[in-house]
Symmetry: C2
Subunit: 404 residues, 2 copies
């Protein structure tokens, strides 16, 4: 008789955003007259930029003609895209990352869930608390998390690095040495950023202790201040200890297009085994490339028109972030994030739990956000709002919250 | 110090098609004047059909306008696509599969590699020999295959079901009871098909012994004879023992588009745990949906125009298959497959090994095929040719082989 992967049964409840979706649907079904504003899930709302639309049409035309049709993509992704990324995201910042160290994928969510597969089952994982749930859940599924303490909301074999108001939502170096360290800056969910000097400490720590940093830079495009690194490879020695995950979802509105990439420097090794070759093997065996047309759309992100149009989109979302941040601050809320990030992290008022505040906002302001506790016990008493709504809706949502 | 997943190091050589690609590139680099005809990897060559191109343009337009822009897709895929699949691929054949039992994905390769994740590590896997390498390699990576016997080319913990000339390339029911049985019909690589009566025996066997059949029906569109089931759910009782994997690559030329789906009936359970809920959890945690525009393209596959245009494409490839099959037969080769399948499986001449014949064909006829031994020890002495080339190239390749 076949057996299931028992680790799946350890997972409490369903995936955070599915739960939110169900709650919002239920409320909306019961109150069809109410206009619910969703500032919860990190989904964008602006349409694809004209340069991207035009690249897509062109690529679709190519796929419709025998002379230009493309079948299976190269394992690592098309060279035109890898070259463009290497040039724009790395060479321009003085990072020594070559095109053949870049793996194109269908997004940072898949990559951040799958990357743990190339590591052994005994590796000790460290995550920030609060944290993007995918890092933890994918390790639970792989049997690396131990058992779940329902009361405390933590896993026995995971090292939690608290990110609190006191430490400015920046984790301290863990005393117990982890093997795999998940870091995300600008952070999801807190919106916090790390300076280059502080990130260098992490890189040094990882190199000294033999750990790998899994660096999620999905929100890099929102960095607006100097001194904040756009890539971990701006730090010295990162090529021997860090994997970087990037997304096109937030900088180019690709949430429904699915494109991302992972960088594994060839110098990142365990003994004489390059992690690059393991991930290449995984890509070759379990994946078949992002669609050609989507890779062409990704290329257009770096064109002159694309860059200008997307800078305008990011400015638009930044204006939303600013409105939420300052609006709620003036209303007496304790807020952080929002400056180098599309996420605003606020303290729930009157000692409400995160889910209590979720229900309270949904019912009284018809605004859907994300409960901080959904990101781990350290998120309890916090709430995440995103800047990805329309400006009109964002203003209306904030005004409704201020009226409460 | 972090550790890697040691199972990766057990994998011999690199992935079959990467090796072929490298060999062809090397030959082509050394002989730039030679025109190499590739009938190796199962990649299509006809451009996307007009109905699909037009659906893509329309969807791209939608993505470029605020009112019709789509962000994250629903976890299981868009309803418009799941409904269409349920109607056309199942209800029309009398199979009791609902839209909510269908999971849209980026292709059957990913699904067939990932599906093993929801099963326990101790499950015993059975595969046909020869076999599509992904089934085996993904289980090796998960630690389910045991150790590799380099000399015999087999894994200690895998049950191999020989598919030989003697049994008409149809495996017999294994004596040792497996937990997971991978079946693929029309078969890759042999092109063999199974009758409904024979497949029913497998379904009965799985239900009796508590096994799950992972049924890869990627080549279903090439079935031309009556009595050959298009879906395993045509068999009685399959909903309690079978998962079906489907692709848009071969019926609609989506190799570079990436779209597929997996069916997990809700009645398929281990105790009281539905495999459906485990796969839903995996989808929700580790995947973020196929691109909206690609899902719309998938929908167009089932439109009236789409169906007619794709039937013409399949006829085109069938004509190729027929030319290869009969051309080589007349030239004295022992051939099978090709009738309900785009693959022709031929016996290598003069006792050559599969790779010897690969080199021989590449050097003397400038034709690249796939060595049978790349699909497992049972493929040794065989060679796979595909019908996915252009008609002109197919004719030229066969004529060149006949001249040898």
């Amino acid at each position: 008789m076949f057996q299931i992967n028992e680790n799946y049964l350890k997972l409490p409840g369903s995936y955070l955003f599915s739960t939110i979706g169900k709650k919002v649907s239920a409320y909306s079904g019961a109150h069809p007259d109410k206009k619910i504003i969703r500032l919860g899930i990190g989904d964008v709302t602006l349409p694809l930029a004209p340069a991207i639309v035009s690249a897509l049409h062109k690529a679709v035309e190519e796929m419709g003609r025998a002379e230009t049709f493309r079948g299976y993509a190269p394992d690592l992704g098309y060279e035109f895209l890898r070259n463009t990324i290497a040039e724009n995201d790395y060479k321009s910042r003085g990072c020594e990352i070559g095109p053949d160290e870049i793996f194109i994928s269908d997004g940072a969510k898949s990559d951040s869930a799958n990357i743990q597969e190339i590591f052994g089952p005994e590796n000790k994982v460290a995550v920030c608390d609060p944290v993007y749930p995918v890092y933890v859940d994918s390790n639970v599924m792989a049997g690396r998390a131990g058992s779940y303490d329902r009361e405390r909301g933590i896993w026995s074999d995971v090292i939690y690095m608290p990110c609190t108001e006191e430490n400015g939502f920046l984790p301290g170096l863990p005393k117990e040495h982890p093997d795999l360290i998940y870091l995300c800056f600008p952070n999801n969910p807190t919106g916090a950023v790390i300076t280059k000097a502080r990130l260098q400490e992490w890189v040094d720590y990882a190199n000294e202790t033999g750990a790998v940093i899994l660096y999620d830079a999905a929100y890099e495009a929102y960095i607006s201040e100097p001194g904040v690194p756009h890539s971990i490879y701006e730090c010295e020695g990162a090529v021997t200890c860090a994997i970087e995950l990037k997304s096109f979802s937030k900088n180019a509105g690709f949430t429904g297009m699915r494109l991302g990439y992972t960088v594994i420097p060839k110098k990142l090794k365990c003994g004489d085994v390059a992690l690059h070759s393991l991930w290449a093997r995984r890509h070759g065996t379990k994946y078949n490339g992002a669609p050609y047309i989507v890779q062409r759309a990704g290329e257009a992100v770096y064109s002159r028109e694309g860059k200008a149009q997307l800078e305008a989109q990011i400015s638009y979302y930044r204006k939303n972030a600013d409105y939420i941040f300052n609006g709620l601050k003036r209303a007496g809320y304790t807020v952080s994030g929002g400056v180098n990030s599309p996420y605003i992290w606020l303290k729930t008022p009157k000692g409400m739990t995160s889910w209590e505040f979720f229900d309270y906002l949904l019912e009284n302001a018809n605004v859907a956000g994300t409960p901080g506790s959904g990101f781990g016990p350290g998120g309890e008493g916090y709430f995440r709002l995103t800047a990805f709504g329309s400006y009109e809706n964002t203003v209306e949502a904030v005004d409704r919250i201020r009226m409460l």
